[in-house]
Amino acid sequence: MENGSIKLKILHLEDLATDAELVSRILLKSDIKFELKWVSNKTDYIEALNTYEANILLSDHSLPTLDSFEALQLARAHGVNVPFILITSTVSEEYAVEIMKEGAYDYVLKDRLQRLPRAITNAFEKWKIEEEKKEYYELIRVSEERYRQIVETAQEGIWMIDDNNKTVFVNKRMCEMLEYSSDEMMGKPNYYFMEGKINQVSDPNSGQDALDIKLLTKSQEVVWVSLSNSPVLDNDGNYIGALAMVTDITNKRLYEESLRNSEANIRTILENTTTGYVLLDMYFTIISFNHIAEVSYERELGRPLRVGENLLEYFYGERKRALQETYIEVLNGRKSDYETYFVNPDGSKVWYYVQFSQVLDVNKKLLGIVIAANDITERKEMDLQREKITEDLIQRNKDLEQFAYIVSHNLRAPVANILGISNILSAGNVNPEVLKGLSNSVQKLDEVILDLNDILQIRRELSERKEKVVFSKLVDDIKTSMASQLSKGNVEINVNFDQVDELLTVKSYIHSIFSNLISNSIKYSQPNVSARIEIESVKKKNNIELHFKDNGMGIDLKRRGDQVFGLYKRFHTETTEGKGIGLFMVKTQVEALGGKIAIASEVNKGTEFSITL
């Protein structure tokens, strides 16, 4: 026998010594290895239960102090769960069944005691198997308990469905997430809990899968979850359901969603503004731009903006240099803005107001640069128009002041003389000198009126059409018309128009400028020195210069420099016939053409006028 190696400890409860002897003898005759303890009363029995550690309990049916039923109960009560075998002379069938039900392993009749060894062996075998089974179940129970604990305390929801998508298991967290009880969820298909009640889960057979979906709680609140899905297969590899690990990502999704919304809002603003925005990193690489910027940059630079390219590459020459300077300024923390324009093919200008600003993160660390460009053409045109109107008004006002001055001085002077002479004449003092004075005064009055007409005319002709003027031809024409003056004064005119001989301008003005300056040089030539006039044109970057140089009397600019171009300012009295309007006209006309005039002069050496047009 298997248990042959084990020495059984048998506790025997029997009040009759003879019967105890008999049992002992029969056992000794069997091949069971054992030791036997015989107790004959309740007290000794209880004592043995506590101390003996029996493997087998044998009990007589009825003792004076207790019966077998009580003996069994005492054993169990003392934690002795070893096999209990009843040995009895007679026992009813009912009692036998009763005590077996209560946990006795077997019963042996006293007149058939030869069966006892077999009964003991069988009972012990049975007990051993039961004990092993008990241990095994305990192991399973413990492990299951541990597993359950893990499942129930998991921060993730666990959700199992069968092959019909019906819920077969949810853990506590899953229930909390959806606010249902486990029972309420059982048997319901997974899509019952999804927004729109549509099965959003991708093909369960596709294996491990993770996706974000929206679930609905019992109170119809949206819960964003991340699902990690794995199929459950049977031993033959057939799909029998799916297990999902479910993570609540509502907060994360809400945050992301609000971020996306705010981004979308900013986008919307950027796309609907009239400002073109280009976002650059700190190396001037294009990161992003809005539609307005895309359109306007392509129009002005002839090349579409591309993310990843350097914006500096889009510019050339002076503009590029200016942009680089601005870039450095902005990097150094200075906000920079300016107005600039591009010229359309038709010659009209598109004006932009451009602002550069730094893009900083929350720690004020430089991330990049934003360039905002506004089309301000309309405003600019209005500004320019307003400026021009203001300028015109100021000029008009100056004209009026000049007019008032002319009226009070130059118009009044000959009138005063005429009055004076008429006083003399009416007193009867008629002499040829006085009469000559009268005629001179009237003539002078007429001249002033003509001058006034000329001066006021310049403004009116501002809009006069421009035409091509050839300088060399212009000078020839003037020479012809001034032939008598030129020959009388023995005047020599040298010209050098090698650099520029043509100009698109208002011909009448340029004619007046040339003839006034030439006639000035003749008028104020030095006595006894033959007049020499040199006229030269010089080409400059954006304009041209005209130089008129003579060897005449010159003007003391230190004393009268501020009045050289003033109306009716004269510097030479007795010697010449100048009336102080020539240079005034020249300056007015040069300025009307958008140019400037400057004078350099030295007394008795000569004068040079420089005109920039």
């Binding site: 001055y405 001085h409 009055l419 004076g420 006083n423 006085v434 005064s441 030479h572 009295t573 007795e574």
Partner: protein, 139 residues
Amino acid sequence: MRKTKPPYIVIDDDLLNNMICKITLEMALGAVQVETFSNAEVALDFIRLNYDDADNDDGVTLILLDINMPIMSGWEFLDSFDAFSEDIKKQFRIYLLSSSVDDRDKEKAKQNKNVIDYLSKPLSKDMVKQIDVPVNRTR
């Protein structure tokens, strides 16, 4: 060459005005010595040359001075004149005589301590009678 101090000096670049003044003065006062200058600088030189023995001279010379003149204006003349000694200055009575009817000129004239009054051209006999004082100069 030293000249005698004239009772009247007229300074104006307008030669016709100088002639009118001279005739009008003669018409009002009879034969009178009038020095005319078309350049104020020359007039200053004349004063400098002829009026330095001022200390024992209590005669008066009347100046009719134009304002708007090339080279040296009436104002500039007055500035230079102010630099003369009191003994010289007291020998003059200066009137501005201008064609200007601009009030600003009149205002400016009144503020100049060396100017007695502002006269508007042309000089008439009535004006001469108003400004003429016994001048104690050889006429």
